[in-house]
């Protein structure tokens, strides 16, 4: 059952990711990204991280991607035009990625002996325990994120507000 579910959602995930690359329309890319995020939430559930899964849906799919769609609508971003830009990044990046991928897979395969099998819901992450950790051990990090969010809000307002005539 676990394997079956994992494969189903992993296929959705990978399909969405590939679709994001293939699509020429920005909105379709955004929708496939939502599919990726949704299936990732399901995969988190399989691992028992229920709180993370729900937050993933609320924050990523429900807030961040809505913002993306909103901007796509606002700027009327249509089809991507095929243009000839600098392809340096491509020529260096893609082979680099390929090599990196091979090394990564090699490492994982070499790792096979202590490859831990994970059972369904192997680490139960309930909301209260996660919250407990967040407000004790990670208290400072939590408080500091407020500075981050403040900067982001301020920056968004400063950069995107209407011209002050």
């Amino acid at each position: 059952m676990h394997q079956f579910l994992f494969i189903v959602f992993a296929v959705f995930c990978a399909g969405g990711a590939i679709n994001l690359l293939v699509q020429r329309k920005t909105i379709n890319s955004a929708l496939s990204l939502i599919v990726v995020m949704g299936s990732l939430a399901m995969i988190y559930l399989l691992l028992g991280a229920e709180f993370v899964a729900v937050v993933q849906v609320i924050i990523y799919a429900g807030a961040i991607m809505v913002l993306y769609i909103f901007v796509i609508m606002l700027l009327n971003a249509g089809d991507e035009e095929a243009s000839k830009g600098s392809n340096v990044a491509k020529y260096f990046g893609i082979p680099g990625l390929f090599i990196g991928g091979i090394i990564g897979i090699g490492v994982l395969l070499k790792h096979r002996p202590n490859d831990t099998p994970l059972k369904l819901g192997a680490l139960y992450g309930p909301a209260d325990q996660v919250g407990m950790l967040l407000f004790t051990k990670y208290l400072l990090a939590f408080e500091v994120t407020s500075v981050l969010v403040l900067i982001a809000i301020m920056g968004a307002v400063v950069l995107a507000r209407r011209s002050d005539s």
Binding site: L31, F51, V54, V57, I58, G62, V66, L67, I69, M73
Partner: protein, 357 residues
């Protein structure tokens, strides 16, 4: 309970809930036309059946038989996907709402809640983070509207859906925050757990609903935000017909339009369900001891339905009474008044809970 029984019970529950929900949706439309009619000194629907009771049926047939236009120049796939998405998101969240306590039928005990089960100890339990899932599904509901507006390739639709998504995202913040107070007091995210936290009474009379335990500010914030979330008057700017024709569903007709329509009313019902679960004790209510036991078993359902219809009536009443906001007023109200108030409510409740502990 074996896996098979579990599956069958779940399917039956889904079928019943869905049937009831769709009926309620259909008759809310009828109720709205009737009540608004009376408020405006008209009759409302009265021709089809007694008191126009068969009107929803006639409307449904009309929607099914009308020509289903797909305008040219629309983004076909997304255009077709959007109404379905809106309706599915609207119908899904009802699955998590605890409608009643555990019932015993044919030797099977199960709570009246699609996602609820009875655990080994005979206690009802449901998803631990139920409320968050409801919020998550609600936040996904905005996609139906946003995509409808985008794919229609029409300026009215686009403006309507831009407004709608901005409005829903903005008010979602206050909506979520208004529920935090209740969560602090009940210290659980499970919806049936929240209902159980409100079961007892003071002096055997006054129910200990969270509304009476200091969360009335949160309740009003919730109701206002919920009106905005469901795009109802006085916050129905996305479909303000005087400015935007019909907003995001301008280009939709027949069944696809009906799906948006149903989604809106289903959302109203869900919002009412969450309101009654969070603030009004869900299905709890006074027991009436002189009634026969068989009837008493159904009392929780009656209480729940009564609470839902109270909210639905409120919706209609306000629709018949209030004018529409201007868009900048709506945004200013949401961010400058509602949001700080919701935040203050959270802080005060947190202090109160910490002081009591």
């Amino acid at each position: 309970m074996s896996a098979l029984t579990f599956l069958i019970v779940a399917l039956i529950k889904i079928a019943i809930t869905l049937g009831v929900l769709l009926t309620v949706v259909a008759y809310t439309v009828w109720l709205e036309r009737k009540v608004v009619g009376r408020m405006q000194n008209r009759w409302g629907p009265s021709r089809v059946g007694p008191f126009g009771l068969l009107q929803p049926l006639a409307d449904g047939i009309k929607f099914l038989l009308k020509e289903d236009l797909t305008p040219p120049y629309v983004e076909k796939n997304i255009y077709l996907l959007a109404p379905g998405l809106a309706l599915i998101m609207a119908l899904t969240s009802i699955a998590l709402v605890p409608i009643g306590p555990v019932i015993h039928l044919f030797g099977i005990s199960t709570p009246v809640q699609i996602t609820g089960v009875v655990d080994a100890a005979g206690q009802p339990s449901d998803i631990n983070v139920g409320l968050l899932i409801v919020l998550g599904i609600t936040s996904l509901g905005v996609y139906g509207i946003a995509l409808a507006g985008w794919s229609s390739n029409s300026k009215y639709s686009l403006l309507g859906s831009l407004r709608a998504s901005a409005q829903m995202v903005s008010y979602e913040v206050s909506l979520g925050l208004s529920l935090v107070g209740v969560l602090l007091m009940s210290s659980t995210l499970s919806l049936s757990g929240i209902v159980h936290a409100q079961q007892s009474t003071w002096f055997g009379v006054i129910p200990q609903w969270f509304l009476f335990r200091g969360q009335f500010v949160a309740f009003f914030i919730y109701m206002i935000a919920a009106f905005a979330e469901t795009n109802r008057i006085p916050f129905d700017l996305p479909e303000a017909e005087t400015e935007l024709v019909a907003g995001y569903h301008t280009e939709y007709s027949a069944m696809k339009f009906a799906m948006f329509f149903m989604a809106e009313y289903a959302n109203m019902v869900t919002v009412a369900c969450i309101a009654s679960v969070m603030f009004l004790g869900g299905w709890t209510g006074p027991t009436i001891s002189f009634l026969p036991l068989a009837v008493q078993a159904f009392l929780p359902l009656v209480w729940f339905t009564a609470k839902i219809f109270f909210f639905l009536f409120l919706y209609i009443w306000i629709r018949g009474t209030l004018p529409r906001f201007r868009y900048d007023q709506l945004m200013a109200f949401g961010w400058k008044f509602l949001f700080p108030l919701a935040l203050a409510n959270v802080i005060v409740t947190a202090f109160f809970v910490a002081w009591r502990a």
